[in-house]
């Protein structure tokens, strides 16, 4: 077999390993989904009555696409945690001392995260349907929307790999949620940026999570009172561009960090 086909084979072996882990720990999946589920219930039922997103739009229809995007955004903390644990436990050292393709550890992570993200989205979509959310965008647009959500998760995986290899300890990886929280919140996930103070609204508009949330609202056909700024008007475009940019930068950083383990 050629080097490339071994790289693919090794990647798939590691993906199988991750799937095996997931299947052995259904409780972990439940915990991972705990935050988005609680968020959905809190925001929709507790705050939702007080939320006015403008134009008389239904808050469930506004918040649900944002919630999907936020769950995808927070996923990278899980990636970082897994990488930090595997480094700490010597698993990465063993892999690196083996004749397997060096790229497989990183690419395997990416593919496994896509699988995880898909599962997360399925569970969340079921909950969303139960509380009355619907996609009015038709089959292809809906599929496109979920595709963009997975794309955001995939792009942020490299941020997770990079951070997981960068942090000094597992505890530090656990604290990355403090970084992820504003990334999820300072966005159009729960409230439209034009209702925020100017400077905060600016940050929120240019947050990649906002672009994905905006694009997904459009594709789902959920009423979305978008602002007038260029970035808000071009959410669908930017929901493609941002993940590509993030991947280009952070995949390179992640690979460099992985190679630097030899220093």
């Amino acid at each position: 077999m050629s080097a490339l086909s071994w790289a693919v084979a090794d990647c798939l072996t590691l993906v199988r390993r991750e799937l095996l882990h997931m299947s052995r720990q259904p409780s972990l999946l439940a915990w991972g989904l705990g935050f988005p589920i609680v968020s959905v219930l809190l925001f929709v039922y507790v705050f939702g009555s007080a939320m006015d997103v403008g134009d008389g739009a239904d808050y469930v229809a506004y918040a649900m696409p944002g919630m999907f995007a936020m769950t995808m955004a927070f996923g990278f903390t899980n990636t970082a945690m897994v990488m930090a644990v595997e480094r700490d436990r010597g698993v990465l050292d063993r892999f690196r001392s083996m004749p397997m393709a060096p790229s497989a550890v990183v690419t395997g992570r990416g593919v496994a995260d896509i699988a995880q993200a898909t599962l997360d989205l399925v569970v969340m979509a079921v909950i969303a349907l139960v509380i009355g959310w619907r996609s009015d965008g038709g089959f292809l647009a809906t599929l496109h929307a979920f595709g963009l959500l997975v794309l955001l998760r995939f792009a942020l995986t490299w941020v997770g790999v990079w951070l997981g290899l960068l942090v000094p300890s597992i505890e530090a990886a656990g604290n990355l949620f403090a970084v992820a929280f504003p990334l999820g919140m300072v966005s159009s996930v729960f409230t439209p940026p034009h209702l925020m103070p100017d400077w905060l609204g600016f940050l929120a508009m240019w947050n990649p999570v906002s672009s994905t949330a905006g694009a997904v609202r459009e594709l789902f056909g959920n009423p979305a009172p978008a602002g007038d700024s260029w970035i808000e008007q071009n959410a669908l475009l930017m929901a493609h561009v941002w993940p590509v940019l993030v991947t280009a930068v952070f995949l390179a950083l992640a690979l460099r960090r992985y190679r630097a383990l030899s220093d």
Partner: protein
């Protein structure tokens, strides 16, 4: 079985590991400072030294995990810097913590590593079966690793690093944190490996471990090799054997002193009044023992115990690292 034995696969070169002037620098600190090693095929080399001496960095460089800053090393006939991929086909590594997956079974761990070592599905399963038997994990093979004892976990970890029957196996503190029983299990497993022709390099702070397992011991301190010898040679270098006579009653101490004085080297016998013990360094160990025994017998001195006591490896180690630190 597609995994040939080490000797069948490799031409018989004398040394499996050779390092010359191996150097690693972290900032201003030389972690490893011009280390030379030559490890004969099928033997166990113990790297012994205090914390921070450079043992783990040395192992990491030999196992292609850390790039050396200077010098060269060949492992299994390949240069670690120029041909890391070829080196990786010939080595196994068991680090300071078992790198096995907790939530899957022992067998699943072994099959996974088999696949990552590029064995086919059937071959990976067959190899897993062999290793389960070789490391006596049969009863636990299909249980999740999280229920394993420390010794079982390490044995599984060793088995995972033995998938391709490596030429060279690196063990970084293989028994740290194990109870005596677990330690014994791991020792037995390591001894089993060398019987198959695998060369083992192990780091340890346990002198007993080096003494039990290693054919040769390299004492390392401040990134440099202070000395390398067999365990017995190290003890000899630190000071030869001492003869020791214990009498049953204090009144016999003078007679014991006289007898021991005839063979004592240098300053003559030391007496431990409380333990009723007389001891002295000697040159010709067996002749000295025979002579003292005969003298005491001829004089009719009752003896509670008589024997040769060799310095422990602890004494050798402390003396060597103290000297190395001063140098």
């Amino acid at each position: 079985m597609p995994v040939p034995s080490v000797s069948a696969r490799r031409g018989a070169s004398e040394h499996s590991v050779v390092a010359e002037g191996l150097t690693k620098r972290y900032g201003d600190r030389l972690a490893v400072d011009g280390l030379d090693l030559a490890v004969r095929r099928g033997t166990v080399l113990g790297l012994l030294g205090p914390n921070g001496a450079g043992k783990t960095t040395t192992v990491r460089m030999l196992a292609t995990l850390t790039r050396p800053d200077g010098g060269r090393a060949e492992v299994g006939g390949h240069d670690v810097r120029r041909e890391p991929a070829l080196v990786r086909r010939r080595i196994g590594l068991a680090g300071q913590h078992p790198a096995v997956d907790e939530i899957v079974t022992a067998r699943q761990n072994l099959v996974l590593f088999g696949r990552l070592f590029h064995l086919g599905r059937a071959a990976a399963r067959a190899r897993a079966d062999e290793l389960i038997a070789a490391f006596t994990l049969q009863e636990a093979a299909d249980r999740q690793v999280k229920g394993f004892s420390g010794g079982m976990r390490r044995r599984l970890d060793l088995a995972c690093s033995m998938i391709l029957a490596p030429d060279v196996l690196f063990l970084d503190e293989p028994t740290t944190g194990l109870d005596p029983r677990g330690r014994g299990e791991v020792w037995d497993a390591v001894r089993g490996l060398t019987a198959t022709g695998t060369t083992v390099i192990l780091t340890t702070h346990y002198l007993e471990e080096a003494d039990r397992l290693a054919d040769r011991i390299a004492v390392i301190d401040h990134g440099r090799k202070i000395t390398e010898d067999t365990p017995a040679g190290l003890k000899r270098a630190v000071g030869g054997a001492r003869i020791e006579v214990v009498v049953a009653d204090p009144s016999w101490l003078p007679a014991a002193r006289r007898a021991v004085a005839r063979v004592a080297r240098g300053e003559g016998p030391d007496t431990d009044e409380e333990a009723l013990r007389v001891h002295a360094a000697v040159d010709d160990e067996v002749a000295a023992l025979t002579e003292v025994a005969r003298t005491l017998q001829d004089e009719g001195t009752p003896v509670a115990d008589i024997g040769l006591r060799r310095p422990t490896l602890d004494e050798a180690f402390l003396r060597l690292t103290a000297a190395g630190g001063a140098a």
